[in-house]
């Protein structure tokens, strides 16, 4: 990343936000209407990726009850799983879980039942924190939420055989 290429590097969060903005994707907001959602800003996506706004735009199409962590956005705390902490595993695991206490408390304070995060490190870390600190939340990526909430046009569904291919 960061070099001059012939191509542009884009995070999927930005891409998804584009699709929703352009009306290329439609979401059924009622799917998560009963849930309170919060969002974990991954360091590489928000502070170091500039995608915090795009993520919140997606959330606007997805969640009825959304609560920010404190602090949030560019100022959000690291979950503790970054910088290679997850794959280091072994003796580093205990340090990682301990350092996640800040994140766990942030999440608990929101009262959320779903923590959304578009980063595999955060995802794995918060799932571990969920067990370690008994948060009782669901950790989901946007993709996972889309799987449930995307509105699929009837003609694309499996019952009909004659599809127009690309």
């Amino acid at each position: 990343m960061g070099r001059d290429h012939k191509f542009q590097v884009v995070h999927s969060v930005t891409l998804f936000a584009e699709y929703l903005r352009e009306g290329r994707l439609k979401l059924d907001k009622s799917v998560f209407a009963e849930e309170r959602c919060t969002y974990q800003d991954p360091c590489n996506v928000s502070r170091n990726g500039g995608c915090g706004k795009d993520a919140r735009e997606i959330i606007g199409y997805l969640c009825e009850d959304f609560v920010e962590m404190e602090p949030y956005g560019d100022y959000n705390f690291c979950c503790g799983g970054g910088g290679g902490a997850i794959p280091m595993a072994g003796p580093f695991r205990e340090r990682r879980l301990r350092s996640g206490k800040v994140k766990a408390e942030q999440i608990r304070a929101t009262g959320a039942s779903i923590c959304i995060t578009p980063c595999h490190n955060c995802y794995d870390q918060i799932r571990d924190l969920n067990k370690e600190y008994e948060l009782g939340i669901k950790v989901l990526s946007f993709k996972e939420m889309f799987e449930e909430a995307l509105i699929i046009p009837e003609e694309l569904k499996a019952q009909e055989e004659d599809e127009d291919e690309e």
Partner: protein
């Protein structure tokens, strides 16, 4: 040549020479090394982020100021008085006029007096932070106390000289010596931040800016 003449003449020249020359060398070294080893600075150079980054910290428009109002207030008072007092002190103005026939606006004497007390008070606050806050103590070295002392010494002696406490002549000589000592150590120590601050803020401002994040 009397000790006074020595401190007022050759040693003052030497002090300014080391101070200015030293900082020029620092800057040259920064540019020669950075063009070789710090390519990102130049690849993502941006005047916009450079100024925004400096601006938000040269005035207290940042998260740290919001989070630490007392330390920020003390820090700003300390730095403002530190720069303004010696430059606009009437007694210093007279010296400039005597030597170079130039003069500029100067502070009322009582104001300068209060400002000196503010510097000393802030300095004591900073020293107490170092002593009593564990997270400051942990990174504090002997050099930190020494440099704080070197910074405060010209002001303490200046205050004593103005009020003619103790032996005026001795205190004055000490005042001149400490002032010159401070100038000399600046380029070689963390006190060089008076200038490197701008470089550091610029570099980080641009690095965060290219990622569309503020660094304040």
């Amino acid at each position: 040549m009397s000790l006074y003449e020595l401190l007022r003449g050759p040693l003052l020249w030497l002090a300014f020479g080391v101070f200015i020359g030293g900082m020029v060398v620092r800057i040259i070294l920064f540019f020669t090394l950075s063009t070789k080893k710090d390519k990102p600075i130049y690849r993502f150079f941006s005047w916009k982020w450079l100024w925004l980054s400096i601006f938000h910290w040269i005035v207290p428009l940042n998260q740290t100021a919001k989070k630490n109002p007392i330390t920020t207030t003390v820090g700003f008072l300390f730095h403002i008085c530190l720069l303004v007092t010696p430059l606009f002190l009437l007694a210093h103005g007279v010296l400039w006029y005597e030597s170079w026939d130039i003069s500029w606006w100067s502070l009322p004497e009582s104001t300068a007096d209060y400002m000196t007390l503010i510097i000393i008070g802030c300095g004591i606050f900073l020293a107490l932070r170092r002593i009593f806050l564990p997270y400051v103590r942990v990174v504090t070295t002997a050099a930190d106390y020494l440099l704080l002392g070197v910074t405060l010494a010209p002001f303490v002696t200046g205050y004593l000289a103005y009020h003619q406490y103790f032996d005026y002549n001795t205190v004055l000589l000490l005042h001149m010596f400490f002032g010159e000592l401070m100038l000399v150590v600046i380029p070689f120590t963390k006190l060089s931040h008076f200038l490197m601050f701008f470089f550091s803020r610029a570099v980080t401002g641009m690095e965060f800016g290219r990622r569309r994040a503020p660094s304040w």
